[in-house]
Symmetry: C3
Subunit: 270 residues, 3 copies
């Protein structure tokens, strides 16, 4: 199957990164237990301000004042799910854009049901791997644990349908990342397979998607830029790494030093 | 406003660090979900022994046998708050010094109320940024998310009042750190702004404050030494860093290798 | 007391590592709050696929489809313990090998009771430090916080008895690691004391033990290989480290690049 898609350019990454750095968006993060520190450090490195507010008593209050919200169902349990629903409802009411990361949806029924319930609160974007997007669209059974068993390309049709059904921008990430609003499809080719060997790169990407969505004039481009910039930094980190330890360190370094001016002078291949 | 304060010296840092290394204090850590690993690694690097004991069933028993206790309200929810109260009460009863870190107090009412309730158990020290200290003292509304919107200098008066009201040493940290017992004010100028771009440096500092408070002959100096030593290590880490990833690594390395003998020969500027 | 034991060889490490890399075992991890990210990164670096599934609603379903399960009681509380029991029961029923890490058992009665209850679900292996193994065997009162106050050698007799009583392989780790099925005792001498200054190396080892137990033809050897390979990587990491920050990074790098072919050509000293 050929996919009609438009490659994102370095110029576009530069423009979006400049916008994020000018705004320092305050990102309300409700993510899984495993990746909270890494997610916060990724957001800080790129220029956003993370705040992890997780209780039912606080999540709604904060979602209403944050610039954007991430909800990731990676280590879901009832109390946390209740807080997420409160936050999602408050975000919807306040107009705070929010992102759903449907970790391992399709593998386990509890979180699959939860993710579908959360869709009612109208996320601005959904970011997952192919198995997750296929499962959330109701087209397949899910991956192996938290990993995809399908290529991102195979889930583009499901992503477009999911985008049309929900009104969200849908990003299906993998070797190539595809980002769609249900009609147009943007693609980013940056990235390195070592990113899959460090826990939380996908989860952190979803948080960065939220950061770029804050006050975004073009949500499709905002989501694609998040994917593209993390991919570029993943490539740069690989070049400085011996293994996954130095990769993770270099990835945060790359996010810290990546600059719009430098991206503007890079040459697109596509 | 001019603040009458006394700069902490390298000699004092050396003496306090030697004392900590001789004692290997066992620090009971009840902190937020985001920074638990980093906090443990900071304590281990500097020479303390961390133990994260979080349940209502265990927190009181452990607070009574630990050398010191940290309570950080960063990702508060009811079960954890209940355990924290049990631990704080046990610490008070056993004479275990404990530290309150009022993360984002003033921003959200649930944690603001909780922090004020915890004050009843008489913390030995309170460590926060200017917005948090101002809010805890009842003088301002809080910062932006977890970040301060005020300078540390602007909160010194509030810190002195809070120290007098609670009997705790109060540290308000920022570009300059001010540490007060309500009368005297010590100041440390070490540190680097990159510390604010790595999640948990403030939270870890509060844990190190607890470590230094264990069996401290001079609590004001103990708290100031914690601030000073982490500041010195932050400066050293910056000199070895490309971005926030290598900064975090180098910060832990600096904490591992910093030595009293070396501090004793350093020259104070002030 | 002299202990009759057999040293593990590099050839054996090579064979076991090759087996793990060929299988990419899916490891269900239920561990403490402090070390989740590091545990996931260690498993990913060595070649396993971690998934942290923690809720009562999902833990049983996932334990039945995972290749192996880790249960670590480090930051235990009632809801998590309930989920662990469900997972352990499901693992036992499905024949999924599972590992118990009895963090700080003997220090606190709640977790000591919990660990003993979990034994009823027949772990395939138990991995702890000397104080933990002595306490779990009912022979001593436990260590200082999460640290052992006894040498691994002093717990070998208790380990053998615990192995016979439970049917589990028991690994008591320390300067030398001893691994026993109740009759035979294997030993590994690799490792470096700096591993004790980075939080989670022991906890991550228990997760790697689970990974090696997946479809293992020889469980005693599988557990010993996990201990040996992490020890070898710890030595290599120390050689590249300034302090604990670079040690942690280099440890993950060593786990990424360690190769069966390279181990096969290494020379045993013993």
């Amino acid at each position: 199957m050929t996919i009609t898609h438009t490659p994102v350019t370095y110029q576009q990454l530069a423009g979006e990164l400049q916008r994020l750095r000018d705004n320092t968006p305050l990102v309300h993060v409700m993510t899984n237990e495993v990746v909270q520190e890494f997610t916060a450090n990724v957001l800080l490195a790129i220029g956003a301000a993370p705040a992890m507010i997780v209780a039912e008593e606080e999540a709604g209050e904060f979602a209403a004042i944050a610039s954007a919200l991430l909800i990731n169902v990676g280590t879901l349990y009832p109390a946390r799910l209740a807080a997420m629903k409160i936050a999602a409802a408050a975000a919807q009411k306040a107009g705070t854009p929010w992102v759903l990361d449907p970790v391992a949806v399709g593998v386990l029924s509890y979180r699959s049901d939860a993710a579908r319930e959360l869709l009612a609160f109208k996320p601005a974007a959904i970011r997952g791997n192919a198995s997750e997007i296929l499962a959330l669209a109701g087209l397949a059974a899910g991956g192996r644990g938290v990993d995809s068993t399908a290529s991102s390309q195979s889930a583009v049709k499901a992503a477009k349908q999911l985008a049309r059904d929900t009104g969200a921008i849908v990003a299906v990430t993998g070797e190539t990342d595809y980002i769609t609003d249900g009609e147009r499809v943007l693609a980013t080719l940056w990235g390195h397979v070592r990113m899959t060997r460090v826990v939380g790169t996908g989860c952190a990407l979803s948080a960065v998607v939220a950061a770029f969505l804050a006050d975004a004039p073009d949500r499709l481009l905002a989501v694609a830029a998040a994917c593209g910039i993390l991919g570029v930094c993943g490539e740069r980190a690989f070049d400085c790494s011996e293994g996954t330890g130095s990769f993770k360190m270099s990835f945060l370094d790359a996010l810290t030093v990546i600059a719009p001016a430098q991206l503007r002078t890079a040459e697109d291949n596509a």
